[in-house]
């Protein structure tokens, strides 16, 4: 029960991020006739946020989230 309710909370959180990022006023920041690498920034922004959102949902809903072994997370020596 606990696990599923925290999953629900995470999904709602992602939704809120999505709604904020894809609406006024955040979108107005990028709403300019500027090109980045030849492509209008507004288009780039929309499709970028869109992909990120899909990735977030996919990551949150992945099956059997297994914690990674701790040893892999520790940075290699000398790179701190």
């Amino acid at each position: 029960m606990n696990k599923s309710s925290s999953l629900n909370e995470r999904l709602v959180f992602i939704l809120i991020i999505g709604i904020l990022a894809l609406n006024y006023p955040l979108m107005a920041i990028i709403d300019k006739p500027v090109f980045l690498k030849g492509i209008p920034v507004l288009y780039l922004y929309l499709f970028f946020i869109w992909s990120c959102f899909i990735g977030l949902v996919a990551f949150t809903l992945r099956k059997n989230p297994r914690p990674k072994p701790l040893s892999k997370k520790t940075p290699p020596p000398g790179k701190l």
């Binding site: 939704l15 999505g18 894809l22 609406n23 979108m27 107005a28 949902v57 809903l61």
Partner: protein, 902 residues
């Protein structure tokens, strides 16, 4: 020029392929090896969301207003993040109660209400008309474009009558096709595997076709997106499109469209059909929640490039932007590509039409026609399974005809997207009764019906009526001055609200009256029993104890079976009943009374075929005594909650019992241990007592029997006897002491005691020992007095015991004993150290046990009783202190104890 027959042949072949796929999938499903039971097919079937609107309309929209086509796809993406929470619940409910359509769902939730189901059906049918007509328009336009290939200019001038109208032929072909697909036979199940497989295939075709068009335009006609966009600044009207300025209604409209499409993706009847009714496994939602948005992303990437290219290459106003996708390859004479793209558009449109008509025909049949038919007495005993099929087929034709009518009346003057949005707003009316209904038990039938009705009327007034005006069927003064010149009633500016674009305006008003009525009326009116039951069943679907006692069984099994047979056919009814008997492991005789769960089973079977509301009416016509009365239902609910309460309490009791048992077990083991210890004690004591007793007796006998012993010997023997009896006395005293300690009968005389004084006194009484063995004694006692609260004699006993032990184990002549008294803030500590042989580590922990004696000392058995330390430990414990030993073998031992300060 593409011959008409070529286009027709390609179209027919394509539809034939679809049909073959559907046929194959159905066969596989019958054989129990479903090909649609995986999240990928599920995702592709949801992609029926992308219709001709997406395929043709998005480009048209983008060509005029830039990114404003996007919220229609961003909304579903956002909504999909909640699918795991909301959609899964809806699917679970639909599965458990065998819901066949969105109308059925709402009817079931609100007390299996026929009225609610019928109302939803009407809204769905009317609301979907613009959407269907959109598809017809798209197909017929694309057909005409192809037909005039490669001439582009002549497309616009078309005079059509109903009989040479492509749209009409398209409508009829689609109707035939949907009938073949969806209503080949009537099943007790509400799912259509073959149709889903065909739709999934269509989703692949349209994605590839559109991407092909996009890639052709972007990378072959232009040199990639940067080349394409580099032309934008040269066109004045295009510079607008790369920012939000072109958006009609601005950010408000953007937000409205996002909201609308969030609702539409779940509550358009066809989306509900593929998302919920056709769902095979609710776990598929997990993948679909991100795969489907990914599909949307992919199919939208090339919309803007195509729109831009169309705007640049065609003179303004020459070509309808809605068909840029087709006309761009045509202008380059790409025959094959054009036909392929045409097929993509065809699949987008047909997919939508097929699912929508099948979903709607199920609703019309189950929730509109059936309830009427079932009330007719003359039809009470007729086999209706044939009639069901006819009704469904008829309603498919009806739905398509209505769509065609709308197209003829209005379609010409609207773009594809603005037609679709009208339908979206209608579908959004279903959101409040469903979303509120599955989370709030208080939402009731009256509220839902009023909300739906109010929302529907508001929708018709603010969106549909103006479209009649715009098409010239009503005077334009209606829009400008309001009906009868009442400005407050202008459809686009209701009550003078003129800050919104028409869609936002309509969404605002419809949602306001819909949600407002639903909530306020639910709060103000009461639910009847069946509503209350259904509300509870829906809201708590995940945590449910199933109760099948809503029906009182007074029907014969045979009657029930006949009833089912009337709707699904005899064979299927027989199979359903024998399956039921098999899974329950019972033999079903036709003549017995059906029990409640069988009646319930029959009702669900029937629900699958004719919907929940009708099924209820039918079953109640067979089951005598009808359903249970309100009073009884409440009793059942009470009983259920009581049973739950009881079982809850039972569980608690059994948990308590378990704990008690564990405790008892522990006590039992302890008792056994004590018993064993007692036995051991007795035998040890007897043994210890016997040794001195034996020697006393032996030497007494010698004295008694041998009168002629020398005086020396006599004296020696007597002294042995004396010594042994002393030892006996000491032993007996100690045993008595110990016994008193253990039984708690010791008399303690607690008083204020000065500890250094006690130590001195104890040392005095053993000073003789030091002298005898010539052992050096070191005393470290603080100068100031140290007080404790204790039994003076007992403490002296402990100190003497420890010191005499130390002396006992020291070598004579060079032995050293140190007595060290220290104090800290809370306690006093005494250490007695010797330099004897020490105590092996293994024996240290046993040293305070009764009768424990150090065995392998070179001296052999020491003279102690083995009780001294045991007694010390008990005394110290009684005083609230601690006693322990530290020793390294060969170096010596330190016995220490602490006592709390006074």
């Amino acid at each position: 020029m593409l011959q008409e027959w070529v286009i027709l042949l390609v179209s027919i072949c394509y539809l034939g392929t679809l049909f073959a796929i559907a046929y194959y999938a159905d066969k596989r499903a019958d054989a129990g090896r479903s090909i649609i039971s995986n999240p990928y097919i599920y995702t592709l079937s949801i992609a029926v969301y992308c219709t001709a609107w997406t395929f043709y309309g998005s480009v048209g929209r983008a060509a005029g207003t830039g990114v404003s086509f996007l919220p229609i796809y961003i909304g579903p993406t956002l909504m999909a993040s909640l699918w795991w929470i909301i959609l899964r619940k809806i699917i679970r409910i639909a599965k458990v109660y065998r819901v066949t359509s969105i109308a059925d769902f709402i009817a079931s939730r609100y007390g299996k209400s026929t009225l609610a189901g019928g109302l939803v059906t009407i809204i769905a049918v009317v609301g979907i008309m613009p959407y269907i007509s959109l598809q017809l328009k798209a197909i017929s336009t694309s057909f005409n474009v192809l037909h005039h290939y490669p001439a582009l200019e002549s497309i616009k001038q078309q005079k059509t009558t109903m009989w040479n109208d492509t749209a009409f032929s398209v409508a009829m072909i689609l109707a035939a096709f949907s009938i073949l697909f969806g209503t080949r036979n009537i099943d007790a199940t509400e799912r259509h595997e073959g149709m889903v497989a065909a739709i999934a295939f269509e989703s692949i075709v349209k994605l590839i076709a559109f991407s092909a068009a996009g890639i052709y335009v972007t990378f072959i006609m232009f040199d990639g997106p940067d080349d394409l966009f580099s032309w934008v600044p040269h066109y004045n009207e295009l510079s607008n499109l790369i920012v939000m300025d072109a958006l009609p209604g601005g950010y408000t409209n953007w937000f409205t469209l996002t909201f609308l499409s969030m609702m539409a993706i779940m509550f358009l009847p066809r989306q509900f059909q593929v998302l919920v009714v056709e769902n095979v496994n609710e776990d598929h939602v997990r993948k679909a929640a991100w795969l489907f948005p990914l599909y949307l992303l992919l199919i939208n990437i090339f919309v803007i490039p195509i729109a831009m290219a169309g705007n640049m290459l065609f003179p303004e106003g020459l070509i309808d932007p809605d068909i840029f996708v087709l006309t761009l390859p045509i202008s380059e004479n790409q025959e094959i590509l054009t036909i392929f793209i045409y097929l993509g558009g065809l699949s987008a449109a047909t997919g939508m039409v097929i699912i929508a008509t099948i979903a709607l025909s199920t609703m019309v049949c189950n929730d509109l026609v059936m309830p009427v038919l079932l009330r007719m007495q003359s039809l009470q005993r007729v086999d209706l399974s044939k009639a069901l099929l006819t009704i469904r087929r008829g309603s498919i034709i009806l739905v398509l005809l209505l769509g065609y009518m709308y197209f003829r009346l209005i379609g010409e003057s609207y773009t594809l997207v603005s037609m679709g949005l009208v339908s979206f707003t209608a579908a959004a009316q279903f959101a409040p009764p469903i979303l509120i209904g599955i989370y709030w038990k208080g939402a009731n039938r009256k509220g839902a019906i009023c909300g739906l009705l109010a929302g529907f009327i508001m929708w018709a007034y603010t969106l549909v009526l103006p479209s009649f005006v715009r098409s010239g069927w009503l005077p334009t003064s209606f829009l400008e001055n309001g009906p009868f010149g009442l400005e407050l009633l202008i459809p686009y500016k209701l009550l003078g609200l003129d800050m919104f674009d028409p869609i936002t305006h309509s969404v605002f008003w419809t949602m306001l009256v819909n949600i407002g009525s639903l909530v306020s009326i639910s709060l103000l009116s009461r639910q009847n029993a069946i509503e209350r039951i259904q509300a509870a069943l829906f809201v708590d679907v995940f945590s449910q104890v199933k109760d099948t006692r809503i029906w009182r069984g007074t029907a014969l099994v045979a009657e029930l079976k006949n009833l089912i047979a009337r709707f699904v056919g005899k064979k299927k009814a027989d199979k359903a009943f024998s399956d039921y008997a098999k899974t329950r492991g019972i033999y079903l005789s036709e003549r017995v009374q059906a029990d409640a769960s069988l009646v319930e089973f029959a009702e669900r079977q029937l629900s699958g075929a004719i919907g929940a509301a009708s099924a209820r009416v039918m079953v109640s016509s067979v089951v005598e005594g009808e359903s249970v009365s309100l009073h009884e239902v409440m009793q059942i609910l009470d009983e259920t909650s009581q049973v739950i309460e009881y079982s809850h309490r039972l569980e608690e009791k059994s948990k308590e019992l378990e704990a008690a048992t564990l405790e008892l077990q522990a006590v039992n083991t302890r008792l056994k241990e004590l018993d064993r210890m007692k036995d051991e004690f007795v035998s040890t004591v007897s043994h210890e007592l016997r040794t001195p007793l034996t020697s006393v007796r032996a030497f007494s006998e010698i004295l008694h029997d041998n009168q002629d012993l020398s005086e020396d010997e006599r004296r020696k023997f007597l002294s042995i006897i004396l010594k042994e009896s002393e030892r006996l006395t000491r032993l007996t005293n100690q045993i008595l002491d110990l016994a008193k300690f253990e039984s708690g009968k010791t008399q303690w005389v607690m008083e204020r005691v000065e500890l250094s004084e006690v130590v001195t006194e104890a040392l005095d009484s053993v000073s003789q020992l030091f002298l005898e063995k010539k052992i050096e004694l070191t005393q470290k006692v603080p100068h100031e007095s140290v007080f404790i609260r204790a039994d003076r004699d007992r403490i002296i006993q402990v100190v003497i015991n420890l010191i005499s032990n130390a002396v006992k184990f020291c070598e004579p002549e060079n032995g050293k004993v140190t007595v060290h008294l220290t104090k800290n803030r809370t306690s006093i500590r005494m250490d007695v150290t010797d330099n004897g042989p020490g105590i092996p580590n293994s024996e240290q922990k046993h040293i305070f046990e009764k009768f424990y004696q150090l065995q392998d000392l070179n001296k052999g058995k020491p003279g102690g009783s083995g009780l001294g330390l045991a007694i010390c430990q008990r005394i110290i414990k009684y005083h609230g202190g601690k006693i322990w030993v530290k020793s390294s073998p060969g170096v010596g031992a330190t016995f220490s104890f602490t006592l709390p300060k006074f």
